[in-house]
Amino acid sequence: MARMKFLCDSKRCIECNGCVTACKNENEVEWGIQRRRVVTINDGDPGETSISVACMHCSDAPCMAVCPTDVFYQTEDGIVLHNKDGCIGCGYCLFACPFGAPQFPSDAAFGERGKMDKCTFCAGGPEEDNSPEEKAKYGSNRIAEGKLPLCAEMCSTKALLAGDASEVSDIFRERVIYRGHNDGAWAQNQAEPQPEADLAYDVTQPKV
């Protein structure tokens, strides 16, 4: 059984926000909500690094553990989804989420947040696959069509990877090893700059 995960290669992410736009458009997300975002650390300084982040579909999901109404469920592929019908907009999932993934259409007085919305890994919700109801509440269901999330599919540098955890890690591992990439996805090592080890995947390097 697949175990779906996202991975963002910070060596490749160029902060183009293509994933953000793709997600917004594909899922026709409500006004004011952005399911995916790109965060740039050290913006404009040496060592600037960007990461695209959305729901990471945690194995032991904190949102699921704190939700007072228990509306979350995990598909057999490990995708964390929720049933908006039962959501009371208490915000607990956002308080618990490590990545700030849950979003709300409002933050009005008396806790009037509206129904929580978050990345579905393009897997819709509990309604019938690709039904108009599902589309309206959760956006598209590409997984049901055998496709991967559009954000990763559209990523121009292939920084953002989505898919089965072992496949994603294989791709990434290969990059790290054969690209001569010093620090993997998460860093640029200031102490040991390697200008030659940038975006290019050095295909001439023999695979040992």
């Binding site: 790109v38 650390i41 907009g89």
Partner: protein
């Protein structure tokens, strides 16, 4: 570069090997297999995930983003997992034990000691104890308290049994109702409680009589009836518990109820823990108050229901007050 946290309050606990472990597993996936790979790249791979960058973001470093959401610049919400731990592993079970334990103690007490009866027959003469306004205020605050307690407890414990009992769709509606009731009646309760505190404070100043009252255990067991004025030591204690803990519950509740001020998640987490803990304490204490006011003491409920109590009751439970009333009558 560490984010500006002027709006937030630090939770009093720190360091989360747990979260780091989870995140390392989740985001970076597992590279354990590579540890054995004897290739020149081994060292490079091993350097992964332990760099200054990873260190900074796993401590909550914020960056720049196009997202307008509150705290969107922060990649990792460091305290979330800890809040989950405290709420789910501590507040939830501790509250259940506190409420269950209090009920059990009251039940055992009732079975062993029974009701505190009137010692002598009723005289048929009554004296006024609570004015109409006091009674209206008491029952308004009490009703709101009970609704808030039931709706609050449903949010904390409902998912463990009510969801299965009601079915997902009915449960969804019930939970929505609870949340609406809680969030809209909460501020009303705040007003009622404040009024009550102001109106009744003068009755509830502790004095020497109360010390003796406590030393004699309030006369709960046996035949002794320690002296008391308009309010006895126990009632005053309940008043002050309700005042102090009640204000904590109200303040933390208001913080959660008005997210329109853009409170940070850490603030909300802390408010939730304080609110949960304090409100459970208050509910447990209210069980004691409700027991003593109804099944526990013969004739006590009459005062708050009709406003009048029998002279026998007044003499037995509030002798000093009875003497005062009689003196001023003459």
């Amino acid at each position: 570069m560490i984010p500006n946290k002027w709006l937030t309050v630090k939770l009093p606990f720190h360091i989360m090997p747990f979260l780091s472990l989870m995140l390392v597993l989740l985001i970076t996936l597992s590279f354990s297999g590579l540890a054995q790979a004897a290739s020149p790249s081994e060292a490079k791979v091993a350097g992964f995930a332990s760099t200054a960058y990873w260190d900074a973001i796993s401590k909550g470093e914020s960056g720049r983003t196009q997202s307008q959401a509150n705290e969107a610049g922060q990649l990792i919400n460091v305290q979330g997992e800890e809040w989950r731990h405290w709420r789910n592993q501590w507040i939830t079970p501790a509250g259940a034990y506190a409420l269950g334990g209090t009920l059990a103690v009251l039940l055992i007490f009732y079975l062993l000691v029974g009701q505190n009866k009137l010692d002598s027959a009723r005289t048929g003469n009554t004296i006024e104890r609570w004015k109409r306004f006091d009674r209206a205020m008491h029952w308004t605050v009490a009703t709101l308290f009970i609704i808030l307690a039931i709706s609050g407890l449903s949010l904390l414990y409902g998912k463990f049994f009510l969801r299965d009992a009601l079915g997902a769709s009915l449960w969804g509606n019930y939970a929505t109702l609870c949340k609406l009731a809680h969030n809209y009646l909460g501020p009303l309760f705040v007003l009622g409680l404040l009024l009550m505190i102001v109106k009744w404070m003068k009755h509830n100043v502790f004095n020497r009589t109360d010390l003796t009252w406590f030393l004699q255990g309030g006369g709960m067991v046996g035949k002794a009836h320690p002296s008391a004025g308009y309010m006895n030591g126990g009632e005053k204690a309940w008043f002050w518990v309700l005042t102090l803990v009640g204000i904590v519950v109200c303040a933390s509740g208001l913080v959660m109820d008005f997210p329109n001020f853009g409170q940070y998640r850490e603030t909300m987490q802390l408010a939730n823990l304080i609110h949960g803990g304090a409100s459970l304490l208050l509910i447990a204490a209210s069980f004691g108050h409700i027991y003593i006011g109804t099944a526990g003491t013969e004739g006590a409920l009459e005062g708050m229901k009709t406003g009048y109590v029998d002279e026998t009751w007044a003499k037995q439970h509030h002798d000093q007050w009875y003497d005062e009333v009689k003196k001023s009558d003459r």
